[in-house]
Symmetry: D2
Subunit: 147 residues, 4 copies
């Protein structure tokens, strides 16, 4: 995960698609913190929700998760809700990189996630069709240009 220039990703409104999910008491570990792996289900749900939002008129390719990187910045607690922002950071010929930020109800950034997804077909990776590429391009997350 590139760390250099991603400070803009610590703000929820950097992400074109947003989703709110409630925390469950079973997400907590023995210290009363949200378990690191269970947090992954918040990002996972927001990815599925992104597909529903973005792929209405165009067929979603069959994407498999190739790599997942999660950064933990602050702890979260029960009860409450978390917000997840989702966008696209990079489009390769057969892969797409999704970036996500996790926020508490006061919009503090609790974590970041980067998922490399590969389009699959015929037993290996396959080019992402042009109409699906066009959809992903609409959701590109870009660092603001500073003078």
């Amino acid at each position: 995960m590139t760390r250099k220039d991603d400070s803009f990703r610590h703000a929820l409104d950097a992400y074109p698609v947003q989703r709110t999910l409630s925390i469950r008491v079973c997400d907590l570990d023995g210290y009363g913190h949200l378990n690191a792996i269970r947090l992954g289900h918040f990002y996972e749900d927001a990815r599925a929700s992104f597909y529903r939002t973005a792929f209405v008129a165009v067929q979603l390719p069959r994407l498999l998760v190739a790599q997942l990187t999660i950064r933990y910045l602050q702890e979260a607690h029960w009860p409450g809700a978390l917000r997840v922002g989702t966008g696209i950071s990079r489009l390769g010929s057969s892969s797409v990189t999704m970036v996500q930020g996790l926020f508490d109800e006061a919009s503090h950034c609790l974590g970041l996630c980067e998922t490399v997804l590969v389009n699959t077909g015929g037993g290996g990776s396959a080019p992402i069709p042009a109409d699906a590429r066009a959809v992903f391009e609409e959701y590109l997350v870009r660092a603001p240009v500073t003078a």
Copy 2:
């Protein structure tokens, strides 16, 4: 679980404490239905939330789950939210029975749950203290009296 006279429990407003929780895509099984066991985490969270609501001034006894019965009435789907209603149906000397109903956003009853909780202390069951009994009594769920 007594089935005779619990039809009033199919309405959300039969329960004194209510809670709304979002469904996550990971709650689904291979058929696109909410997994039966994962539904248990909705009831579990609503029990923990009930304790937070009810036991503000009085100390919560250390209750262990002795028996859990879940009835499945209708299927639920992602995305969306579920509402859980929670109340007390029976107070024994060392045990308390909690009853819950699960509802979709249109208030259709999807399921019912009954949890027998036992107060523990000194390696076995222990009487529920009087102040805690008084709290539980405030949340008793009763069938409406019909003329």
Copy 3:
């Protein structure tokens, strides 16, 4: 769940199908005990495993869980493994009741589970086909006859 005469169900060898599953650290709650709901996944896995064992030559009906009752008898800890015994206690025309016992590695009974499964078809319950009934009958769990 009938409590009267089921003491024979506290022994692993009362069940015709047995399965061993490892405990994961994420199964623990804040007290270092196995979480009550997550224990449900051990029973669920053993049901799926039962179907694989029993329904080799005969097609498995599409069974939905109608009611699930879990009793908690003793706590379990990580690390280690749990054994689940599975059998059939009752065959109705369109439903089947599965009984299960959960055991630690020293064969102490930690809990019991009873699942009422209903065969579904055409939008409602449907009779269990004769060949599937015959399979379930082979796995009936019966109390030993005492003189």
Copy 4:
């Protein structure tokens, strides 16, 4: 995650600590594959198991997960078991990087995981004590030297 020279990490015996965990039917997604996030619980359990193995005589520092990277190489299926190999790849002054490999029962590598853990104390990161560093050093995973 460095990709250059980690091919030696695709063999289970590259890792000093190994653990076997059974797959549960609830780990599967709608395609019959192991869910990407739930796979994270296999690595998590193996980390906890590593601490139990390595920190017998020396106190384990309070480590928090700062970053988690998981690579998915092959799909896995139920039923069966997975093996996780665990070792240390890097020791910083206040952080330690744990590397793990996930394998099926035929020792095919299904995935890799890298976890950056930070020692915490007094509200921020803290140096790892010398005795704990010495323990971690015993479990360093190194690429074999080739002539």
